[in-house]
């Protein structure tokens, strides 16, 4: 984990530099009248110091990591595909509407990601979409976007 710790430590160090800079620009004010950037400037410095200490510790672990074997492969592709499908869901929900997009999402997750039979995926997707519409839209009045199907007065 030494290398991973150095990567994450570097990220948080750069994050704190970024925040510190913008906090300074917001204005630190004076001690009698602290400005909008006051607390966050010092918080950024605090995080920067901690990240440097953490990176320093990880250098010790780097030697031990070299001796340990690599971890087994994990299913990152699945995670990436699911995340991308969720972002697509967000992009399309107001254009296509909740019903269509939910149907498509479930079809994708069950048939493509989980590789279930298409007939199974279609049946489950329709049932889930219908039930969630009934519960959230009809019963709880969540005002979900209607999109393309809006004109059909669903």
């Amino acid at each position: 984990m030494g290398k991973a710790d150095r990567i994450s430590g570097t990220f948080w160090f750069l994050f704190s530099v970024f925040v510190g800079y913008h906090s300074y620009r917001l204005g630190l004010g004076t001690l009698r009248m602290p400005g909008p950037g006051f607390l966050f400037f010092w918080t950024a410095i605090f995080i920067a110091v901690l990240s440097l200490i953490d990176m320093g510790r990880s250098l010790k672990e780097a030697r031990e990591e070299a001796k340990a074997g690599t971890a087994g492969r994990s299913n990152v592709t699945k995670v990436v595909l699911v995340v991308l499908s969720l972002f697509l869901y967000v992009v399309l929900i107001e254009r296509l509407g909740f019903v269509l997009v939910t149907l498509l999402l479930f079809l994708f997750l069950l048939a493509v990601i989980e590789r279930k039979k298409w007939s199974f995926a279609v049946v489950v997707s329709v049932i889930v979409t219908a039930l969630s519409y009934l519960v959230f839209e009809a019963a709880l009045k969540s005002q979900l976007p209607k999109g393309l199907l809006g004109s059909l007065q669903f």
Binding site: S8, L39, L50, N75, S142
Partner: protein
Amino acid sequence: MDLLHNVAYGFGVAMQPLNLLYCFFGVLIGTLVGVLPGLGPAAAIALLLPATFKFTPVAATIMLSGIFYGAMYGGSTTSILVNIPGEAASVVTCLDGHQMALKGRAGPALGIAAFGSFIAGTFSVIALTVVGPLLANLALAFGPPEYFSLMIVGITVLTFLSSASMLRALMMAGVGLIISAVGMDTISGQFRFTFGIDGLLDGIGVVPVAMGLFGISEVLLNLETEIKREILATRVKNLFPSLRDWALSIWAIVRGSLLGFFLGIIPGGGAVIASFASYAIEKRISKHPGEFGKGAIQGVAGPEAANNAAAGGSFIPLLTLGIPANPVMAILLGALMIHGLQPGPLLMQTAPDLFWGTIVSMYMGNGMLLVLNLPLIPLWVKVLKVPYYLLYPLILLFCMIGAYSLQNNTADMIMMLVFGILGFLMKKFRYEGAPLILALVLGQKLETSLRRSLIMSFGDFSIFVSRPISLAFLLIAFALVILPIITQRNKLAALEEESQI
């Protein structure tokens, strides 16, 4: 007499049919959430929060609270039967609970968990009834320095008790504080860290962050490393513990209740910490510590009592000080504010129906949970058998609907997904989300308290140490930061001595 009058008033509110019904729904959903791994009470409350906008504030609070303490009951079922904790506070129950199940004693394990939870839950509600108003009166003397110092203690306690590195927990608390700054500064009116993005002008809400960090990220982690669930095939029978089981467990339940309640009150403490602490104590004082990890019933009774008592105790700082003790309370705080309420010392006066109605509803909720958890165990076992490939799309869908419903726009959905990815990466790189979310919730109030204190004192920091209550809080926080360093140094010194010998 005032107390009795207030409790009677609370009964009047809680016994209204609609409030009773919402209490039932809350504990039922909470139990279900507790049973299902991958969806904790924080995510569940965040998901259902938008649905409660149509309810009265009292009904919403009763239902959402029921989800929280209900999840404490449900979590033990999966721990015992499947050896996978339903939620974080039931991790410890796996150690001895599942071992009892493997020895054919799943029934008594489930039974003692349920009864222990009921006793501890009832105790904590009674204690809440007595301690809550006392603390609310004390809190009227709090000014900005006291609030600032108390919130520093809260963040420090959570980082001190962090299961991973305290240094990293402090970093995440700092990140949460910075995220809380996004949006408009209430004192100067300036926009901070918005970078021209319209979606950030109103700041970053707790609910999408919580749903992302606790809901979405958990699903992504489970997708990445598939967990095989083997549910115990034997029939669960004899749910009532024997007299011997009671003799072994009763003092563990008493100790767990007291410990859990006090750990629940401290901001940053909570059910998870309480359950671990209870297990450690029971093992330490047991005459047969070797039995722990092999099916010791005290190893189930104590932690389950502790986590339920902590759940009750954690309502105290929220309702009386307006300070959330843990991330779940942070989301509940968000819920109360969305309903137009301001939790704090004056809540008892401004919304007595909510204050006393919620407390009394917890009595009834505990009774409902005892009834739900024992006879319905076969149903929960069936729920556990729902394959994960059906469960996670549903969880994702509920998260998306919940995020959209907050403000009827997609900005919160994007925020949730961004924090979902961040939460996933944080877990992979061994950073905890709890300090981040607590600091996010406390951030604005903490900053305002700091700036007001400095304005009051004309820039003199000694205001934080010259006021006794504030000084006491800061000393506690300082001790919590220094203690691990001293302990570490002593350990290193001892190791060096040994190597020289």
